[in-house]
């Protein structure tokens, strides 16, 4: 077998794929969160940040396609691995674990986050799809706002000259043009998260993502073989801290919109 077929066809190879694609996706969620946080610096900051991203052209597409690739590999490996796991253990034990020592139970029974990786993962995938349809493809039917189409949210003309562009002056509906005018991300986010059930769905999904990461971020070090008893404490602390910081960072935006700070 060649290197590639070994990686795709063996248990450990798939664990490497899982870990590395997961690490890449973690990198994305960190950068995405930092991008989101520019909203607190005002409409100009986030609109300029978004315009800058969109001006990257081919680079943006390379990033998008590699993200799609990583998502594909991560989901494929997850489904493959967990279906093998289900096949490997068809029976559950009748005996309920009564700890003889008080500390034993938690060591044998896997943690909630670890047990539910496939479920949290699939819900996150469904959410990510919705989230793309909501803000990237700007499907008006799913944004929960009657007769408001994010496709019409633009800020003033790019041709006004680089120096003068503040990307803050909103253009009236129907005036801006895709490709010519910068997208008014600020208005899109504040009106998007103004819909309470969208914000709730978002907060729940980000919560699941962070539960997913609290296990995944630590397990990936084991899968690529750089975890040990000595580094375990540090790695687990990193996983938990990163998950909590991500949760706080992501959730701060819809919360601020719902409570009228933005």
């Amino acid at each position: 077998m060649s290197l590639a077929s070994n990686i795709f066809n063996t248990s450990l190879g798939r664990k490497y794929l899982m870990a590395l694609s997961g690490a890449g996706l973690f990198g994305f969620v960190v950068v995405h969160m930092l991008g989101n946080l520019t909203i607190f610096a005002g409409p100009a900051a986030i609109n300029q940040y978004a315009a800058k991203l969109h001006s990257l052209g081919p680079l943006l597409w390379i990033a998008r396609l590699s993200l799609l690739g990583m998502v594909g590999i991560h989901i494929w490996a997850a489904i493959k691995l967990s279906s093998e796991n289900k096949r490997a253990r068809k029976f559950q034990y009748e005996g309920t674990i009564e700890p003889v020592d008080s500390h034993r139970k938690s060591e044998i029974v896997s943690r909630y986050a670890a047990r539910t990786m496939i479920y949290s993962g699939l819900i996150i995938a469904a959410f990510a799809f919705y989230h793309l349809a909501h803000y990237t493809w700007k499907v008006p039917q799913i944004n929960g706002l009657n007769n408001i189409d994010f496709e019409t949210f633009y800020v003033h003309d790019v041709n006004a000259g680089e120096k003068q562009i503040a990307y803050t002056t909103a253009l009236p509906e129907g005036v801006g043009k895709e490709g010519e005018n910068a997208v008014d991300v600020y208005r899109m986010v504040t009106s998007g998260f103004g819909v309470w059930w969208i914000s709730i769905f978002y907060i729940i999904s980000v919560g699941l993502l962070c539960i997913h990461l609290s296990h995944g971020l630590s397990a990936m070090f084991q899968s690529i073989g750089i975890k040990s008893k000595a580094s375990q404490k540090l790695i687990n602390r990193f996983a938990l801290t990163a998950a909590l910081l991500l949760f706080a960072g992501y959730v701060s935006v819809p919360i601020s919109v719902l409570f009228g700070f933005l």
């Binding site: 248990s11 450990l12 253990r89 009748e94 005996g95 044998i108 896997s110 084991q222 073989g225 975890k227």
Partner: protein, 250 residues
Amino acid sequence: MNLKLKVWRQDNAEDDGRFEYFEALDISPDMSFLEMLDVVNEGIISDGDEAIAFDSDCREGICGTCSMVINGVPHGGQKGTTACQLHMRHFNDGDTIVIEPWRATAFPVHRDLIVDRSSFDRIQRSGGFISVRTGSVPDANATPVAKENSDLAMDAAQCIGCGACVAACKNASAMLFVAAKVSHLSLMPQGQPERNRRALAMVNQMDEEGFGNCSVNGSCEAVCPKEISLDFIARMNREYGRALLKKGCS
């Protein structure tokens, strides 16, 4: 002490199996778990019924033959202890004890509490050895081995291949077993020539046997009677990656 037992009974590999209840009366707290079962079996036999079938051999915790899940925990609740070394004093008078076989697709139940663990033998045969005879007991320090390596190799070599790791794992993964076997020899000078071949062959055989995959829960480590560390799985992951790269580049 008097106990109630809820025991898995299964006539053969094809049988669906069922739980049966037994009374264990007048049990001494100094008996081992297997001795308690012996007493129950004598009662069953004198009643003219089939004894509860279970595996045992050395009864001193070093052979890895006894294999039963006691109250949901492989080898019962004592840390670093096989079922044969588990004593009845850890139970209370009047307890109901649930006794089941290892549960894994790769360990089919043979009869009652006996499972077929030849999948472990096949993994071991695929690479868990050194092909060249390196002589009998060598002179001390004839082959220098770093202290850390010899300590780690000894820790890994403690694995008795009982299968409790597989039984405890929610995915029935054999990675702790394979990791111990791969690590043990890869840490020793004698194991070097076949190091990469061994890692690849043992992992491939493990996959073929239908064991699940590690999802880093640590249940295996918690029940291992020899307290083999999860670190060895990380080491196996390294060994396997190294072997893949060596093989891919050569």
